[in-house]
Amino acid sequence: MKHPGWALMRGFWLSWLQYRSFLFILAFGWMIPPLIYMLVWMMVAGSQGIAGFSQGEFAAYYLVLILVNQITYAQTNWTVGDMIRVGEMNRILMRPIAPVYDPLASEIACKIIYLFFDVPLVIVLALILKPEFHIGFTEAALFIPALLAAWALRFLWGYWLALLAFWATKADALLVLQDTLVFLLGGQVAPIMLLPDWMRGLAEMLPFRYMVAFPVEILTGQISGTAILNGFLMQAGWLTLAYILTMVLWKNGVRRYGAVGG
């Protein structure tokens, strides 16, 4: 028999389709900052390039980043806190399927819709901006697991933050902080390579680079060999920690959950 998670996903997919114009606007909004930074860096690079990046390489970096950012952005984390506060969690707890399937199914369902919007746009931009890619088969192959792990990490990291709503009424503020840190240290404002040394060191230690920049760096050939291996290890480490935190918080939070409302 099919896993019931697929049914959930179809339900969300049907629901999200009703909101496609809303989702397209959101997708467009998320695209704007990387687009701006791309144009700024391309201008700075000029025809000589800067710090080893040519104009075309910046274009390649940011176009991939737009897609990776979209795929890894865990939108559902924003609703977890509300669901806990107003008692929407009841419905999910009473289903004969692990509660985490609910946000997961929602994530995947809306992502498919986002990509209908993003992919054609990125292709058009690619035709205009002529990005330079130098990738081999290995990079392309490694990009996929790095991307999936990045998404899982960004999702779980936001999820455990959101689960703090079991204790504090407005835990969403922490999600804003996460977004900001991803923006600064996740390779959005600039590729990690171009950050000042201390910031770069910080970025390589903290989880945020592994949510967005890492897969982009692989696909654009910025890192190779041991750097890729180290990246995967860091990703796995942070992912494990996020997973443990999620489990612990969930277990204790649900016990505490007042099952609010009618």
Binding site: M1, L8, Q18, N90, P96, G261, G262
Partner: protein, 333 residues
């Protein structure tokens, strides 16, 4: 008694509720020194429920009905005590358990808001692993019983409250649960919808031997559906037994309604002896409604009949609402 499906032993639930008085100053104070008070929502409940029973969980607002229902279904962890439902500990929420029960909570929806009801039903049936054939059969049954064929293609958000309740019930019964928890199922429905819903629940319970526990503030719901009631007040069990025994148990009086032959109206008053505990509640021309202590009813009635020419006489239990009101406001019990 039939096989037990729910066993509750010494069940208690305390809530810790943050308290603070109104105003900005006290809100700042509570930021640093939050104070809490313990609320005993449910205290030492004990009861058993058999397969196929329909039980009404009644009590005033804040009595602990919904809390009890939530602990039975597995939404809440109790502070102390034991519960076994169909052999499971509810709050472990095992998938096998969750496929056996269904809970309909007043204003919380199982339905997906933005898509047609039929799509929701299909998704739910897959989540509950209902085989396609069985799904079709169950759905057809439910659509017939609830007369809701026209609703299937409309998005749930466009439905009226009553229509939504029909969908909600269908959604909760699609996988043929053995146990149904209903929290205020008729809330906000018009009279004929209430009647239909009651008929449906009765019929469904009879056909499928489903155990139903429902809370309701409408005594009509309870009277129509539940041969047995459990009355909770201030979190404690006050009464557990037949509904018609409730009045007897809690209100030690009956109502005598009497209509006298107009001519002999005056002799009526003669019956009044010093030890009679009679209160005349209503008096209109030759019609009287009297509240009489239960044990006095036989002797008083015979005296009334002897000394008056009576055209009509009936002895009734007080209306259940009146009894309830007395308990709720702290009168009887």
């Amino acid at each position: 008694m039939t096989e037990t499906i729910i066993a509750v032993k010494a069940l208690s639930k305390n809530y810790r509720v943050p308290v603070r008085s109104e105003g900005l100053v006290s809100s700042l104070k509570s930021l640093f020194h939050p104070s809490y008070s313990q609320v005993k929502a449910v205290e030492d409940l004990n009861f058993e429920i058999g397969v196929g029973e329909m039980v009404g969980l009644i009590g005033p607002n804040g009595a602990g009905k919904t809390t009890t229902l939530k602990m039975l279904s597995g939404l809440l962890y109790p502070t102390t005590g034991e519960v076994r439902v169909a052999g499971y500990v509810p709050w472990e929420r095992r998938p096998e358990y969750l496929r056996k029960i269904s809970i309909v909570l007043g204003n919380k929806s199982q339905m997906l808001w933005d898509i047609p009801a039929m799509d929701s039903f299909r998704v739910l049936s897959e989540i509950y692993l209902v085989p396609e054939k069985e799904f079709r059969r169950t759905l057809d049954d439910l659509i017939d019983l609830l007369e809701m064929k026209d609703l299937l293609t409309k998005p749930v958000r466009n439905l009226s409250l009553g229509e939504r309740m029909k969908c909600e019930l269908t959604a909760s019964l699609l996988y043929r649960p053995a146990l149904l928890f209903l929290d205020e199922p008729t809330l906000g429905l018009d009279v004929s919808m209430q009647l239909r819903l009651r008929q449906f629940l009765k019929e469904y319970n009879r056909r499928n031997e489903v155990t139903v526990i429902l809370t309701s503030h409408y005594m009509a719901d309870v009277q129509a559906l539940c041969p047995r009631v459990i009355l909770i007040h201030h979190g404690k069990l006050l009464y557990d037994g037949a509904l018609d025994g409730l009045a007897r148990h809690l209100a030690p009086f009956k109502l005598i309604k009497i209509t006298l032959d107009q001519k002999n109206g005056k002799t009526f008053l003669n019956f009044n002896q010093p030890d009679d505990k009679v209160e005349i509640l209503e008096h209109e021309e030759n019609k009287y409604v009297m509240r009489v202590e239960r044990e006095q009813v036989p002797s008083l009635t015979s005296r009334l009949l002897q000394s008056n020419s009576v055209t009509d006489l009936s002895i009734e239990d007080p209306p259940i609402e009146a009894v309830m009101d007395q308990i709720y406001t702290g009168g009887a019990a």
